[in-house]
């Protein structure tokens, strides 16, 4: 499956308090969370993001709290994936557990500008920047993580395993 959309560009160390400020954590409603996604660093994002768009960021994306509200907010905002130089570890596992695809493509980040049209092909392991006419290989996702994604997240994976035993 190929994902296609425009890039929203962010810097290094985008933390979970920025992705979804703690003052909104008294709800776990995805649509409500999506309305405030990124608002402390980009007031336009939540209103203007189109379905399928990508968040593109520097190193250590998602650092900070363990709140799954962060990947939930991003997913519910309509973004199809996050591409970054690196991810904070809890965000990394949360995203996989929630079914938000994320990719570490360090070599691509500097060459992506806000608004660039990107195509990401998970199966072929390829990221293409159509605006810039550049193409990058993506590192393979470990087999266990692929199983998680294929099952539709950790809970579905567990549910199928429970049935099996």
């Amino acid at each position: 499956m190929a994902l296609k959309g425009r890039a929203w560009k962010f810097g290094n160390d985008v933390d979970t308090d920025v992705i979804i400020p703690a003052r909104y954590l008294n709800t776990s409603n995805p649509a409500e969370l999506a309305r405030h996604c990124m608002e402390d660093i980009d007031k336009e994002y939540a209103a203007k993001v189109s379905t399928g768009d990508f968040l593109v960021a520097g190193k250590n994306f998602g650092c900070g709290s363990s709140r799954e509200h962060a990947p939930i907010a991003i997913k519910a905002s309509g973004a199809s994936a996050v591409i970054a130089r690196s991810f904070a570890r809890i965000f990394y596992r949360n995203a996989f557990n929630m079914g938000l695809p994320i990719f570490e493509v360090p070599q691509a980040i500097d060459e992506i500008d806000a608004g660039d049209v990107l195509v990401l092909d998970m199966r072929q392991g390829m990221l293409r920047n159509e605006t810039k006419g550049r193409q990058y290989a993506i590192a393979a996702v470990p087999p266990f993580m692929q199983e998680l994604v294929a099952a539709g997240g950790l809970l579905n994976y567990m549910a199928s395993r429970r049935k099996g035993t």
């Binding site: 400020p21 703690a22 008294n26």
Partner: protein, 417 residues
Amino acid sequence: MTLTEKILARHAGKETVEPGELILARVDLALGNDVTSPIAIQAVRNLGVREVFDRERIALVPDHFTPNKDIASAEQARIMRDFAREYGIVNYFEVGRMGIEHVLLPDEGLVVPGDLVIGADSHTCTYGALCAFSTGVGSTDLAAAMISGEVWLKVPKSIRIVLSGKPRKWVEGKDVILHIIGEIGGDGALYQAMEYAGDGLAALPMAWRFTISNMAIEAGAKNGIFPFDGITKAYADERASRKYTVVEADRDARYAAEMGIDLGALEPQVAFPHMPENTRSLSRVGNVPIDQVVVGSCTNGRIEDLRSACEVLRGRKIHDGVRMIVFPATQEIYLQAMREGLMETFVTAGAAFSTPTCGPCLGGHMGILAKGEKAVATTNRNFVGRMGHPESEVYLSNPAVAAASAVLGRIGGPDEL
């Protein structure tokens, strides 16, 4: 094997594990709070699961928005309470009997040396101080663990941090970890374990070790772990609710990197906005006037922290332009502070003294900052908007520096008083 590898291997039922290996490990305790567990609870219910893996091995602590901040928080707290009752969760802690999770659980003896603990809260890494493996996960991981008693983990590489010497007066655990984060950066230990060693450990009481492990995540680490020694033993023997296991690193354990720290050379540290890695030694802070001081949190809300702040405050008054708010981390600490007269010292000096809660640490309630305001806090994060308005600022310090700053009206140390 390193300490982390040993504990992980034991819980995965394996002789050995290697960094990078994905394992399915047995958890000794799984933790959730009022922000993260409602999502996990919903997931458990959605799967139609009627029984958790072990009613005694789950801890539910409503500490973030409690005492309930508003109606929405009250509803979240109720989801936890109802679930705890219905599923017979033994370790549910109600307001008035609770505390901030990462101080409460070890103090209650629910985490013991050798354990593998996961929690749907990033500061779950705090328990590494007890020579346990503990790490923060998401709500879905918590749901999975509540059902199966297992978690998937990638075995991290370990960084060895060798401490030597003795810290000077007013240099505390907080300064050690802020210094490390300043050196290696907010992702300096990304996906890795931080393992402490060296003869400097003898100078670190349990409270300081908890502070140091607590902020492992602020260096991006998976966990921060201390070896088991006499200090750990004294604490565990007094508190442990279960039998514990002493784990030691092998002599030929492999570390990805090693760093040394001379504790005697450290000054108190202050982390400037908006990343904990923006540290400066106190003497290089300059003139930073402040509006608020917060002493508390899972980082520095222990009795030792309150004592340290009181040592500075005793006989002094808080600066006219400053609001100081103190949050003991648990009911036990609250009571102890009362018995030792610490509460009186704080209140006489002009501070507000609160019931245990996370409160302003995460900008939840009880001390939110207005636009442009600056706070010194003994908490662990100073991200944009962390304590309130996106244009407010948080400076992180140890409790003694926080108290001195409250008196001075600007960031400064006890020696300036």
